[in-house]
Symmetry: C2
Subunit: 360 residues, 2 copies
Amino acid sequence: MVQKADGMTYAPKGKAAQVVGPGQFRFAAMHLDHGHIYGMCNGLIEAGGELVAVYDSQPERVAAFLKTYPQATVVADERAILEDPTIRLIAAAAIPCDRGPLGCRAMEHGKDYFTDKTPFTTLEQLAQARAVLARTGRRYFVYFSERLHVECAVEAGRLIAAGAIGRPVQVLGLGPHRLGDPGKRPAWFFERAKYGGILCDIGSHQIEQFLAYTNNTTAKIQAAKVANYNCPQFPELEDFGDLTLIGANGATGYHRVDWLNPKGLATWGDGRTIILGTDGYIELRKYINVGTDTAGDHLFLVDHQGERHVELAGKIGFPFFGQLVRDSLDGTETAMTQAHIFMSAELCLEAQRVAVRVGE
Amino acid sequence: MVQKADGMTYAPKGKAAQVVGPGQFRFAAMHLDHGHIYGMCNGLIEAGGELVAVYDSQPERVAAFLKTYPQATVVADERAILEDPTIRLIAAAAIPCDRGPLGCRAMEHGKDYFTDKTPFTTLEQLAQARAVLARTGRRYFVYFSERLHVECAVEAGRLIAAGAIGRPVQVLGLGPHRLGDPGKRPAWFFERAKYGGILCDIGSHQIEQFLAYTNNTTAKIQAAKVANYNCPQFPELEDFGDLTLIGANGATGYHRVDWLNPKGLATWGDGRTIILGTDGYIELRKYINVGTDTAGDHLFLVDHQGERHVELAGKIGFPFFGQLVRDSLDGTETAMTQAHIFMSAELCLEAQRVAVRVGE
């Protein structure tokens, strides 16, 4: 399922590490608007979850989904899932502007929710989700795949927590993405109110990584920009965005995202993360080692002892999904805290709100 | 003379491409406070310049200089150089806060001036130099070595100008530097009023690259930060700084500099520049290909056709120096315009002025 030409269908498979037995964690998929739903389902299934049902308004999308997941029962209405008391969690990759309201419906029905990023497109949706979560006690999980579903990014988190680079003082993240054939993108991709803006959308990955790697619970957006440099035919598309933020503990971040990935790159984006510490730095070349190796998951660690380059594809796995399943069942916050998820969401919305438009 | 452990003594030698005959371009060196003076003299000599005299207040520095350049006559007072009508240009790497006033003295004496970066530490010095330059008609050249004296950086400029990546829309520059043994650094290195702050000092390279690669004549600083994360024993040192700026033509830049380079890196800094265009991008790994190759001058070009990695050490040369010599003799502005030099200086001073202090 890993399709390297197109980030929209990037759906890695990892080593299975089941954390539950049969029947213990039943989940359903719905709103298959973004291909990330495949990566989300893969992760939950590898953790021992059982994909029992699927709903989508478009029969052809359901048919395609069933080819990968024949075990799922097709239902004709999302209520059949919402009202099934045996289903613990709903995984969904709806149109971004619909993700927040859908999550609230799920939580109101006693389900935990696992949505593709970005989790919200407005601060009002976020406030509503915070309120529903507080009232229901359910969980609102987000698929921040660029950290959670990338093995070198997982390993970077472990190394930083172990002190490998001293105190982390800056995270620099580059998230170039391939636009590809616009005709193969859904209409909502080009509608600002539906996708939320580039910093809200693919920028949400970046801020989540900043908070996680620097161990910050909050931060302040210092500056942000957006532009449409190369797609005048899609006036509501932003093909470039960046932001810089200052964490409460003094570490800072700079993050750049774009839809300008040239056709000649062997994969959909040369995603990088550089984490600078007081005693070393880590560079991640997530999806390719450009000009050198088309395999992904390259981690470079430089400390006071030397330089190391390790290739991590297939070697680390994705502990997030098992942690999510256990968090859902046990009421713990091992995968990530709800506060971290909502702060990541809030900051990307805030960056989008204050962004200066450039490029004209 | 290339010493890879320490940026302060980075003094590349290039292919000789003489633009003048014997006796046509006599220059002198003075104020040898920064080791960059060696790179500056190498470049001028390779272009055909004759290094005829040297002045410094410290005899041991003069003695060391003469080991590399025995052709220079030692003079006991800088006036002997300033008042020698046969000397066309003065090259100097004074303490940063002294560079502007020295340049004004040189121009007042009818000499062109070639200073190590950063060219000024205050906006007042810049204003004074602008006034003296206007009055005397002389030139104030600056050794922005991180673009001018790095072969892959020279080639990047050629490729961008040839349209290799379409319209350049962002320059991202990382300038990590090794602090090394503080005991081997001069006292002024740790005194804020003398070195001017990290964005003024090593940040000046970065802004010059932004203006050059994006073909901007001016820009606006959007945000900047400085910190002292790791050197509390030197309270006036800034070991981290970053800035983001918006060019008049809509291209933007992000630039990060630091003194946090870990001891295990095989060279003094993993300098990078990534220039993003509408039809491709270029990554420069200037001094090392980390974890892979200790040689420098790696250029990666990705466009719609594919990915290329070229190793350029020894293959490009440094056309800047010959252009500078001809500009000095002919009154042209081929190497770079005076407006570009002063705008680079102004923007780094402005970034330093508005920088938010973080990290505590």
